[in-house]
């Protein structure tokens, strides 16, 4: 079903991957992954973070929002005054930091992933519409895209969150509604180049429905760049959430997110460093993992990169 023209764009490796996937080429993927040190590291990190998020309820040693005034500001277990009950110490309300980080994983990932999904869907639709229909549709949509690009996203979000109370849901929606522009641009340019190819023109001339052309010929061609952008966006969204928390507009208690923990703990850095440091490490490691994995995906899914790397070695 996926004709010659596709092989041209995806390339032999991509084709191999695609074929293997169909025949359950799990081994092949593992092999590709194992070849890249950073890819492997990234994959392991992301996998563990996702597992922690899924099983958070089972993993937490304490109730993450329960105050415990007698155990306020306990240091991590290896320091004087620390105890095994609170492995990473407690914060200024006596809440267990480890438990909060575990639960925070879920919120941070939730916001990261769903806002990216939302942005991806909007971007896909807008990009497809603009690229496929062209003319005035394109002009109008692209001016809107330009407007969004001209306002740095944090600025836009800042103003929006001043209007709507920040919650997990509003954060997802607002970030999604701001970040779709980069998808729209990528999709549009891919569509423009695919549209001009002979086989698409051919299907068009024999009267194939628009939706069919989009589904069969255009979508498969943009999937790989889509995945790569999405992976990296999850990383930037996690950072963005932290920055919004700093400005007082992130996740609000009693919900816990890494960004909120980092923000609350920042004032204790000089005296009780552990409050902010551990969530900071959690953010850094997770983002690191996602970027590594994303880079690897880009290399694998884009045959041009793959060969240039090979040649250079």
């Amino acid at each position: 079903m996926q004709g010659n023209a596709e092989a041209k764009t995806v390339g032999t490796i991509g084709q191999a991957v695609r074929k293997d996937k169909a025949t359950g080429g799990f081994k092949r993927w593992c092999h590709l992954l194992w070849q890249s040190k950073t890819g492997t590291v990234g994959f392991i990190i992301v996998l563990s973070v996702v597992l922690v998020a899924i099983f958070a309820d089972l993993l937490v040693p304490h109730d993450p929002v329960e105050n415990n005034l007698s155990d306020m500001l306990a240091p991590p277990f290896w320091m004087d005054g620390g105890s095994a009950a609170y492995l990473l110490g407690t914060d200024n309300l006596g809440r267990d930091i480890l438990s909060r980080i575990i639960v925070g994983t879920r919120v941070s990932l939730l916001v990261g992933i769903f806002s990216v999904v939302l942005a991806g869907i909007i971007g896909l639709l807008v990009g497809l519409a603009a690229g496929y229909y062209g003319k005035w549709v394109d002009t109008i949509l692209m001016r809107i895209v330009d407007s969004f690009l001209a306002i740095p996203s944090i600025l836009f979000i800042l103003v929006v969150l001043a209007v709507f109370e920040p919650s997990i849901m509003t954060l997802i929606v607002v970030i999604g509604l701001t970040n779709w522009v980069s998808y729209a641009r990528v999709v549009r340019s891919e569509v423009l180049s695919v549209k001009e190819r002979d086989f698409v023109r051919a299907s068009y001339s024999i009267g194939t429905k628009d939706t069919t052309i989009i589904r069969k010929h255009i979508v498969p061609n943009i999937i790989s760049s889509f995945i790569v952008i999405s992976a990296l966006s999850v990383a930037t969204t996690i950072i963005l959430e932290a920055s919004l928390s700093f400005l007082g507009l992130g996740i609000q208690p009693p919900d816990v997110s890494w960004g909120a923990m980092l923000t609350d703990g920042r004032n204790y850095l000089a005296t009780n460093w552990w409050i902010a440091t551990f969530p900071g490490i959690a953010i850094t490691i997770t983002v690191l993992g996602i970027i590594f994995l994303g880079d690897w995906l880009r290399d694998v899914l884009d045959p041009r990169n793959y060969f240039s790397k090979k040649g250079g070695a």
């Binding site: 109370e165 507009l249 208690p253 850095l269 005296t271």
Partner: protein, 512 residues
């Protein structure tokens, strides 16, 4: 080749830009040459306005009261003293006459009765001014002669002199103001205080220099800088490294750091701000039952809040009129009622043996440690079977909810007393004012409040206010938490005594 050149030129331009920017700044900022006698004060927020009648904030007042003079002032013991006024007398219940001292504005003009009339009339009539609401009881200001002015109030006004010492009653130069307009005045404000305006870089600093012809004692400092540093760790950092001499609003988590550092002291002061829970007594809310309100109060251990999160600063109270404010009730300060078991019994008596569900709104980042205190209260309430759903809102969203009165059973807020008089606080318990908020209604309170507001007999007025506070503490339209403290980090070279009104007069600070 062309490509590289373009790039290096670009880079060069960047570098030059940077250096150009710096060298420019270097000249204006170079304060080091007169380090010896410069006072640097760091606050958590910039002054809202350089216009003293449109500022209405502690941060602004700390600048304004050093630049402008008022008819009266609070001294360090918080006794009312004449400032611009030389002598005064009360002619009848509603008429007061004031004679001015010989004083000059920073442009050399004499302060006259015309200026007083102009300034007070401005704040009495211009409703866009933030201070306007406080001056509505003034009826007329009449010039008797060059140095004598008469003020007529709407009915007897026992708090007139307090008002004339409050922010907003600053005396502005009529001639200058009318000549340059508000725009020009904001560019270069002129007052008659000990320090005159040099520069205001918004969100950065206000710089003041001494006014040599000040009518009072000669100003002590050669230069005063009031800096705005919102981020508390940055503010403390500046203090510890000697970048500033006094930093206000040091949060509890930084105290250890400030205290342990040699060269700086932590000074704890009281404020008139009382944190409290406003409770809906409205029919239909579970809190309309006085037993439920009492149970909530009994479930909260105000002392534990003060001892734990607030680290011992702040005073648990059962009134909004703290010690030091006119009309305070000493039986209700530095006390609490706390009894979880009794709270549970009360809930059962009220018909809720399985506990109740309520919604509790609090700000986050508006008052020191507000969100921490709120979270603590929620867990205290849960001990008594009161399941409070916490709604934490960022400052402006919080104010929206408060002002639109859309909160549910409980809302936590901190209220200060700008007049240092109980009338300012207790107005909340009048029916008109409580409508839509607490919906509290009590004829006796209403009567006492109105009588006190016109009562020129201080002793009787005090008793009236004290009685109101007793009733309120029993009926609990407000559940009081604690009187807020404010903490200053002060360089060891400087002696500083905090005041209840959080004001700072630069010349009260002395170098050791």
């Amino acid at each position: 080749m062309k490509k590289v050149n373009l790039f290096s030129i670009g880079l060069l331009i960047l570098v030059l830009l940077v250096f150009a920017g710096c060298s420019n700044e270097g000249e204006t900022a170079g304060g080091s040459e007169e380090e010896s006698n410069t006072l640097v004060l760091a606050q958590a927020a910039d002054i809202p306005s350089i216009d003293p009648q449109n500022s209405l904030s502690t941060t602004g007042d700390r600048v304004h009261r050093n630049m402008f003079s008022r008819l009266f002032m609070w001294d360090n013991e918080l006794a009312l003293q004449e400032d611009l006024v030389d002598t005064y007398e009360q002619i009848d219940d509603e008429t007061w006459e004031f004679t001015l001292k010989k004083a000059t504005f920073h442009d050399g003009e004499t302060v006259t009765a015309e200026d007083v009339k102009f300034s007070l009339e401005r704040v009495m009539t211009d409703e866009t001014l933030k201070e306007y609401p406080y001056f509505k009881q003034l009826k007329e200001v009449n010039v008797k002669d060059e140095q004598t002015v008469q003020i007529i109030t709407e009915g007897p006004m026992p708090t007139l002199l307090n008002l004339l010492a409050k922010s907003g009653s600053d005396i502005l130069p009529k001639a200058y103001f009318e000549e340059v307009g508000i725009e020009g005045f904001q560019e270069k404000p002129i007052g008659s205080g000990p320090y005159q305006f040099a520069e205001w870089i918004r969100d950065d600093r206000v710089t003041l220099v001494p006014f040599e012809d000040y009518y009072g004692d000669k100003p002590k400092w050669e230069k005063v800088e009031v800096r705005a540093i919102p981020e508390s760790s940055t503010r403390v950092g500046e203090l510890l490294t000697g970048g500033v001499d006094i930093a206000t609003d040091i949060p509890p988590n930084e105290w250890e750091r400030v205290e342990s550092e040699s060269g700086v002291d932590l000074i704890n002061g009281e404020t008139t701000r009382v944190s409290l829970l406003m409770v809906r007594t409205t029919e239909g809310y579970v809190t309309s039952d006085p037993k439920v309100r009492e149970a909530i109060d009994l479930a909260i251990d105000q002392q534990a809040i003060v001892d734990s999160v607030l680290q011992g600063t702040g005073v648990p109270v059962r009134t909004r009129v703290p010690e030091g404010v006119f009309g305070t009730n000493p039986d209700l300060t530095n006390t609490r009622v706390y009894d979880v078991e009794r709270a549970k019994e009360l809930l059962a008596e009220a018909g809720h043996p399985d506990g109740i569900d309520i919604t509790f709104t609090s700000s986050r980042g508006r008052y020191p440690l507000d969100s921490e205190v709120a979270q603590l209260i929620v867990s205290m309430l849960s001990e008594a079977g009161i399941n409070a759903e916490l709604k934490l809102l960022e400052s402006s969203a919080f104010l929206d909810e408060y002002n639109s009165k859309s909160n549910e059973e409980l809302i936590m807020i901190g209220l200060a007393d700008g007049l240092l008089d109980a009338s300012y606080s207790l107005v909340h318990y009048t029916e008109e004012r409580a409508a839509g908020q607490t919906d509290y209604k009590n004829g006796e309170v209403e009567g006492l409040f109105n009588a006190a507001g016109q009562n020129l007999d201080e002793e009787e007025r005090t008793e009236q206010y004290q009685l109101i506070q007793e009733i309120v503490a029993e009926e609990r339209p407000h559940i009081f938490l604690y009187q807020n403290a404010v903490n200053y980090g002060v360089s060891e070279n400087i002696t500083f005594t905090p005041r209840l009104d959080e004001a700072i007069r630069f010349d009260d600070l002395t170098k050791k």
